[in-house]
């Protein structure tokens, strides 16, 4: 009797672990069987840092993957919530067991692992998002929001009554600092005395931390909110307390239609489709990616202004924005212009300590933006690695 019990017990336990692990590591996308077998099929692997349902970064990459998969000559698989230390082994598995031809590693922390894997598999094409290390078979790509953050900053500057705007940031790294600076430059253009108060939560995904950080900013007197992290927490907490906010990454309009003013949207599919098209036609191969550093802005169509595709500003807020609404649309057109006739990082620009960081008339180049560490005038709060 006891033995039988024990046996059933161990069996149940094994099942629990198994289902838990299988679910936790995420199923693989079912390979699509399509077209005549003789046709050339490119198998693409995506490595994600978070869960695909995070409403942020990983979710957006996965939406793009689903669009890519509609191509008849593409098959995709993915692995979600991959720890940075497992980059190499995950890529190995995708190449050796799943026979992937192309691997996209979609987080900054995968950088070194990707380069290691690229050395080991010189014939496989890889592309790493948001990094700066390349190899003959590794390209880098990024869709950057700083221009969109600037536009949202213009709106935030017009909306604040207390002159204090709250910003919840994930980590004090150049990418987030670039966003905050662009946002602050926008705020100050409309409202020269307003401040942008920053709090860091030390995680891309931590809803309770984002909640308490937002509450701390509310207690500080902030009345408009923006953020760079991977959940819709800030939007929800701001709305619960009656404050407007800007969505980030995924369409967050539905999370709070009354309080989301606008936001940043990404279209990773623009890059993936372009890149895979060039791979398919043979223009890009495992020997010529060393100098391919794709940087998608408004002009390229990789990013969009709004909290919902096709809606740059929430109609409920247009009236309250007044003249700023026209300014936003004007700047949007200027940045979408093929000549990019406007950019927020144009000199003269001073950091918050009063140092000149960009001389009059100069425009910040790519390297400057990628390694940005200074804090714009108007930023209030801790700023690690401030020069």
């Amino acid at each position: 009797m006891r033995k039988t019990l024990l046996f059933t017990g161990v069996l149940i336990l094994a099942c629990l672990f198994f289902t838990g692990l299988v679910f936790a590591t995420g199923e693989k996308g079912a390979p699509e069987v399509s077209g005549p077998a003789a046709e050339k099929i490119i198998k693409v692997g995506f490595i994600y840092v978070g869960p695909i349902g995070d409403m942020g970064w990983t979710h957006a990459h996965n939406q793009a993957r689903l669009m890519v998969e509609k191509l008849p000559w593409v098959e995709t698989i993915y692995q979600e919530s991959v720890p940075e230390g497992d980059t190499l082994s995950t890529i190995e598995r995708m190449i050796q067991q799943e026979k992937c031809d192309v691997v996209f590693t979609t987080s900054f922390g995968f950088m070194d692992g990707t380069i290691d894997a690229a050395r080991k598999f010189p014939n496989i094409i890889m592309a790493h998002a948001s990094g700066f290390k390349r190899a003959p078979n590794v390209a880098t790509y990024m869709a950057d929001f700083y221009q969109v953050y600037y536009l949202n900053g213009l709106m935030a500057g017009a909306l604040t009554k207390t002159g204090k705007i709250g910003y919840v940031g994930a980590f004090p790294i150049p990418e987030v600092k670039r966003h905050i600076n662009a946002y602050t430059i926008g705020v100050r253009e409309v409202n020269p005395d307003a401040e942008v108060h920053v709090r860091w939560i030390g995680a891309w995904f931590d809803p309770p931390a984002a909640t308490e950080a937002t509450m701390a900013l509310i207690d500080e007197g902030c009345d408009v909110f923006a953020f760079t992290e991977d959940t819709s927490t800030v939007v929800e907490v701001a709305a619960k307390n009656g404050f407007p906010s800007f969505g980030h990454y995924s369409p967050m309009y539905d999370a709070s239609p009354d309080y989301v003013v606008s936001g940043q949207l990404v279209h990773w599919d623009v890059f993936y489709l372009r890149f895979l098209g060039l791979v398919y036609s043979g223009i890009l191969n495992s020997g010529n990616l060393e100098n391919l550093d794709y940087w998608g802005l408004l002009r390229e169509g990789d990013v969009e202004l709004g909290a919902k595709p096709g809606m740059p500003v929430n109609p409920a807020w247009i009236g309250r924005l007044g003249d700023t609404h026209d300014l936003v649309l004007k700047r949007l057109e200027q940045m979408k212009n093929p000549q990019m006739v406007f950019d927020p990082f144009t000199g003269p620009l001073y950091d918050r300590k009063g140092n000149l960081v960009l001389p009059a008339g100069a425009r910040a180049d790519y390297l400057h933006l990628l390694t940005i560490e200074w804090a714009a005038k108007g930023v209030v709060g801790p700023w690690p690695n401030e020069p």
């Binding site: 019990l5 024990l6 017990g9 149940i12 336990l13 629990l16 672990f17 289902t19 838990g20 692990l21 299988v22 679910f23 936790a24 995420g26 869960p51 695909i52 349902g53 995070d54 409403m55 979710h59 709090r199 860091w200 939560i201 030390g202 995680a203 995904f205 931590d206 809803p207 309770p208 931390a209 909640t211 308490e212 950080a213 509450m215 701390a216 207690d219 500080e220 959940t231 819709s232 927490t233 929800e236 907490v237 619960k240 995924s250 967050m252 539905d254 999370a255 709070s256 209030v380 709060g381 801790p382």
Partner: protein, 310 residues
């Protein structure tokens, strides 16, 4: 005045963030007091969070959501009870961890369609002009969810039961010396089952508070390790429901302050405090036998009781 606002802000956030911790800890205290270590709190919490969210979303009734969370959390804990009490294997750690893995994984898959959906119904908020007129305490307590009050009441009731009633003696003796308790006619298995169930139900409700009230939405993995903080808090509060009350709000204050004081103080300093204090508590417990006996580490914690062997 500035200081008063500061204290009010902090304590009011401590109540809001500390409530799921308190609920989970109260349950784990009962579980461990009866001699069963359940490391599945994180799993039961997230199962409760998901069940609570879905039920509230579907029915529009947040109380039904809390009820569903309690049932789901309780059911999950029964798996653990079965292993640690009926089968009597020395695998309490493993089956607890299994529940955590299982809960996180299952809700991750089932919850995919529920991400980012807004919740219209929420639990009633306690607040009245009279309450707000009380200095300091008024602003801290008004505007809090009804679950905040319920959890405080529960802490008092559970403390009373544990230390002032014969039921409490049965529970504690099951965790201290199940053999002696058995000899005295206590049904050890039943006591342990009920205590594990209490733990599951409360963890489930704690999860529901997170998804229905604290941040009314569902996100995969939204408990982000709160279940593990609960395990730490159980030790930190020396298995005492009243100390759990203080501990939860202390941890809550520290969490809020790590953001509030960020311009002046490295947030990591405050973030590590809960863990640091728990380690200190452990050190204190192991300093001397007297401490160990006085402060109530259940002597038979994690040990199965096998009647036939005696």
């Amino acid at each position: 005045m500035e200081l008063q606002t500061f204290i009010i802000d902090t304590l009011s956030r401590a109540l809001a963030y500390g409530t799921p911790l308190l609920l989970g800890t109260l349950g784990e205290i009962y579980c461990e007091r009866s001699g069963v270590l359940n490391l599945g709190v994180e799993g039961m919490m997230i199962l409760g969070a998901f069940a609570g969210f879905v039920t509230t979303y579907a029915t529009g009734n947040p109380f039904l959501g809390v009820l569903a969370a309690a049932i789901v959390g309780g059911s999950a804990s029964m798996i653990h009870a079965f292993f640690s009490i009926t089968i009597k294997t020395n695998i309490q750690v493993v089956s607890g961890l299994a529940i955590t893995f299982f809960g996180l994984g299952l809700t991750g898959v089932l919850g995919r369609g529920w991400e980012g959906k807004p919740l219209d119904a929420s639990l009633p908020i306690i607040g009245s002009p009279f309450l707000e007129s009380i200095p300091v305490l008024g602003p801290i307590f008004s505007g809090q969810s009804v679950l905040v009050y319920i959890s405080i009441g529960l802490a008092l009731i559970l403390w009373f039961i544990l230390f002032k009633t014969s039921w409490g003696i049965s529970i504690r003796s099951a965790g201290e010396d199940p053999e002696a308790a058995d000899a005295l006619g206590v049904n050890t298995s039943l006591v342990r089952y009920l205590c594990v169930l209490t733990g599951g139900v409360l963890a489930g409700i704690g999860g529901a508070y997170l998804s229905i009230d604290y941040r009314p939405s569902w996100t995969q993995g939204m408990t982000v390790g709160m279940g593990w903080i609960v395990i730490a808090l159980t030790i930190f509060s020396f298995w005492n429901p009243l100390a759990a009350l203080i501990g939860s709000y202390l941890f809550g204050s520290l969490f809020y302050l790590s953001f509030k004081l960020q311009p002046y103080l490295a947030p990591e300093l405050l973030m590590i405090m809960p863990y640091l204090t728990t380690i200190l508590a452990l050190v204190l417990l192991n300093c001397s036998k007297t401490f160990r006996r006085r402060l109530g580490v259940p002597a038979a914690l994690g040990l199965p009781y096998n009647r036939e062997e005696k």
